[in-house]
C-alpha cells in the first residue's frame, strides 16, 4: 500500500468556498429515533420501489416495505418498528412525487406481531460471490454519494466486462458536506472490510482510494487502516478542485482513463467507483447482517445553531434533523438537500431523508444571492469551467428558445450537471438548469420513440398472428 499524488488533472473545474469547517470537527452523533418517519419509495435513480404496506399495518425494523421494481432498483426496508399511519404521494427532494410511507414509531406493537426479520451475519471469506451479491441486494444498498445507483448491479458487471480498478470515492468535493469525511475518520476499519468484500466480488481488482488533499486527517486514517493490506492498493491524493468527486473525473484522476459518452459506464473502461459510506454499509450488511437503514447526513449552513454530522434513520423528516442541531438561528432563506453545487432546493421540512441524503443545508439571506438572469455576454467563463469540455453558453442559448436539437448536437447528454458553468457566469445564467431541461426532453423523446417502436412491434406481431 502506498500513497501517491494524482498524476492527472482534468480540464476546467472551479473553486467554490468549501465552508467545511462548520461541521468538520463534529463527531458523528446518533439521532434519537424520531416519532414519525416518512420513508420514500423513490430512493434513487431508476424505478421507485413498489410499496407493500398500507395504512394501519404494523411494520418491524428491517421489514421490506417496498420491493424492487425493475433492474435498476433496490428494496426499501422499514428503518424502525411502528405502525403505518398513511401511504401518500409526497414531493421528494428532487421534486418528483412518489409514494411515501409514514411510520408512527411510538405505536405499541400488538402481542402477536411477527419478529423483525434477521439477516444472518456472514463470513465473507468463505461466502461465495453470489451469496455476497445477494446479501448486498437484499440489504437494499445503493450508492450513497449522489445518484444512488444500486450497488449489487454495479458490482455485477455484464459478461465480457471486467473490473480492473475499484475506485473508492472519498473526495467529497461538495461545499459544506463532511459526512464522508467523518465516516473515513471514524469508520476506517469498516471501510477496509468493505473493500476486501468488494474486491472478492469483483475478482480482485486493484484498489484506488481517492481523497482530496484538503483532508489530511482522512488520508492518515485510511493509511493506518489499510497499512497491512495485500495487493495493489493505493491512496491517491487529489488536487482540491470541484467536481473532483464526479465519477468520471475521479477515474481520470486516479487511473488516467476517460469514460466515453453516455450510455458508456465506468465499467466500460474497467472501473467501478463506489462512495466510502456505501463501502462501510456493505461491511455492515455482510458481517453484521445489518441492512442499510440509516446514514450519516451533514446538517450545516450558517443558519443552523450547531452544525452536526448526524447518524439518522432514513425517512427522518428534515424538521427533526434541524431540531436535533439546535434549530435555526434565523429564518433560513434557502434549504438545500445535498451540497450547494449539485443539491436540490427543498420547499418543505416534512420531506424525509433517503439513502442518498448526504447533507441538509440551511442558508441565511447573506449566503443566498437573489439573481436575475441576463443575456450571455460571450465571456467564455463557462467553457473554461466545464469539466466535460462542453460549450455551456451555446447550450443555454439554444435552450432559451427550446432548440433541443442544437443542444443535443452540442453533446448536452455528456453534461454531468455539476454546476461549474452557472457558478462562474457573470450574467447569472441558469446554465445547468438549461442543460437539465435539454437532457430531460431528450430522454423523454428517446423513451417515447422506444415505446412507439415497441407498440409497432407488438401490433405487427398481432397482425402476423392473425394472418396465420
Amino acid at each position: 500500500m502506498k500513497t501517491v499524488k494524482s498524476k492527472f488533472k482534468f480540464k476546467g473545474g472551479v473553486h467554490p468556498d468549501y465552508n467545511k469547517e462548520l461541521a468538520r470537527d463534529g463527531a458523528i452523533e446518533r439521532l434519537p429515533l424520531p416519532k414519525e418517519l416518512a420513508v420514500s419509495m423513490s430512493q434513487h435513480l431508476g424505478a421507485p420501489a413498489r410499496c407493500l404496506v398500507k395504512a394501519g399495518d404494523f411494520v418491524r425494523r428491517g421489514q421490506v416495505i417496498g420491493e424492487k421494481a425493475g433492474f435498476i432498483s433496490v428494496c426499501v426496508r422499514s428503518p424502525a418498528d411502528g405502525k403505518v399511519k398513511a401511504v401518500e404521494k409526497r414531493v421528494g427532494a428532487a421534486g418528483a412525487m412518489a409514494d411515501a410511507v409514514l411510520i408512527d414509531t411510538t405505536a405499541s406493537l400488538p402481542e402477536d406481531a411477527p419478529p423483525p426479520p434477521v439477516l444472518a451475519p456472514m463470513d465473507w471469506s468463505s461466502a461465495t460471490r453470489e451469496e455476497l451479491l445477494g446479501r448486498i441486494e437484499e440489504a437494499g444498498i445503493c450508492g450513497m454519494g449522489g445518484a444512488g445507483f444500486p450497488t449489487a448491479v454495479k458490482l455485477n458487471p455484464p459478461p465480457g466486462k471486467r473490473c480492473e480498478y475499484l475506485v473508492l470515492n472519498g473526495a467529497e468535493c461538495e461545499p459544506y458536506l463532511t459526512a464522508d469525511y467523518r465516516v473515513m475518520l471514524e469508520r476506517a476499519p469498516r471501510i477496509r472490510l468493505g473493500v476486501e468484500i468488494m474486491r472478492k466480488v469483483l475478482g480482485l481488482p486493484a484498489v484506488r482510494i481517492a481523497i482530496e488533499a484538503n483532508k489530511p486527517e482522512a488520508i492518515a486514517a485510511m493509511e493506518a487502516a489499510f497499512a497491512d493490506i495485500e495487493g495493489n492498493v493505493e491512496i491517491v491524493v487529489l488536487p482540491v478542485l470541484y467536481p473532483q468527486g464526479s465519477e468520471k473525473h475521479q477515474i481520470y484522476a486516479t487511473v488516467g482513463r476517460v469514460v466515453p459518452e453516455p450510455p458508456a459506464l465506468p465499467i466500460d473502461v474497467g472501473c467501478v467507483v463506489e462512495n466510502v459510506g456505501t463501502v462501510a454499509a456493505i461491511a455492515d450488511a455482510v458481517e453484521l447482517g445489518e441492512p442499510l437503514l440509516e446514514r450519516v447526513t451533514t446538517v450545516s449552513g450558517d443558519a443552523v445553531a450547531t452544525p452536526k454530522n448526524v447518524l439518522a434513520p432514513s425517512g427522518t423528516r428534515y424538521a427533526d434533523l434541524l431540531e436535533f442541531c439546535g434549530g435555526a438561528t434565523e429564518r433560513p432563506a434557502k434549504v438545500i438537500s445535498g451540497g450547494t453545487m449539485m443539491g436540490f432546493a427543498v420547499s418543505s421540512l416534512d420531506i424525509g431523508t433517503t439513502k442518498t441524503t448526504s447533507g441538509l443545508l440551511f442558508l441565511s439571506r447573506r449566503r443566498v444571492f437573489q439573481y436575475s438572469s441576463q443575456a450571455c455576454i460571450n465571456c467564455g467563463r463557462c467553457l473554461r469551467a466545464c469539466p466535460m469540455n462542453l460549450n455551456p453558453a451555446e447550450i443555454s442559448k439554444a435552450m432559451e428558445v427550446d432548440d433541443v436539437k442544437t443542444a443535443e448536437d452540442a453533446h448536452v447528454m455528456d453534461c454531468i450537471e455539476c454546476g461549474a458553468c452557472s457558478f462562474g457566469c457573470p450574467a447569472y445564467r441558469a446554465i445547468t438548469q438549461f442543460c437539465r431541461k435539454a437532457k430531460n426532453s431528450i430522454r423523454a423523446r428517446i423513451a417515447a420513440e422506444r415505446a412507439a417502436a415497441a407498440a409497432a412491434k407488438a401490433s405487427d406481431g398481432a397482425a402476423k398472428k392473425e394472418a396465420k
Binding site: 432546493a345 420547499s347 436575475s372 432559451e400 438548469q433
Partner: protein
Amino acid sequence: MIIAIVCIAGIGLVAAVSLALADKYLAVKEDPRIGMVTAVLPGANCGGCGFAGCDAYARALVEGTAPNGACAAGGEACAAAVAKILGVEATATERRVALVKCCGTRSESIRLGDYNGICDCATAAATAGGDKGCRFGCLGYGACANVCPKNAISVSDGLAKVDKRLCIGCGKCVKACPKHLIELVPASATIHVLCNNPVRGPEVRKVCGVGCMGCHLCEKNSGGKEAGHFTFDGFLAKVNYDNPPTDPSIVAKCPAKCMAEDPHFETGH
C-alpha cells in the same frame, strides 16, 4: 463542329425519349384525392390528429387507415368536405377545447418560496416540486402557451387560461403540462370545476383560497348523485363531460369558489 452539334443533339434526343418513356411507364401513381383532401384540411399542421401533419393525415385518410373526423382543428365542416371527396361517413365529433383545471392565481394561492430559475413549468416542477403551495395546481410558467400552435393560451397572474375561440383542441398543451391539469372538454359545456387538488379540504385551504374541498354541494344542487353530473376523485369534484350540468345557479353556490361558468378567457384577438 457539325459532328459536335449532331452528337449533342443526339444525346439530347436519346435522353428526352428515355425520360418520356420513364414518365409513362415508371410513374409512381399518386392518388389525386390526396391532394384534394389536403386542400380541404386546415393546413395548421398541429399534429392533433396523431399524424405528422395535415399531409400525412390526408394520405392516411385516402388509404383508409385513419378515421374521418380526427382533425379537431377543421371540425365538422372539414369532416364533411373529406366525406364528400372520399365517400366515407364522417364519424360524429364534437368540438373539443382545452380547459386549465386550476383557478389558483398568484393572489389566491400561496407560493412556497421565490423560484428564479428558468421560465419553464417542467423545470420548475423539478425544483422542489415547484414553488406553488398546491402540488397539483398551475405553476404559471407557460409551457402550454409555448407549444400552442394557435396562441390560444395566455398566462396572467400566475395562471394559464385558454381562449375557447382560438383553441383547435389539438391537445399539445395537455401533453406539455407537467402537472397534467389540462383536459380537452366539449366546447358546448359551460360549467366547470377549476381545481385539480384531490386532497382533504383543510389541507387544500392551507395552500389555496379557491381549491375544491370535495363537499359534494355541486352534486346535491344539480340533482344529486343520480343526476350524474359530477364524479369525485378523493376530495375533488369533476364534471362528467358526457353529461355536463347545465344549471348555472350551482356555480355561485359552490362554497370553495372553484366553479365557474365558461371560464375560457377571451383575449379579444
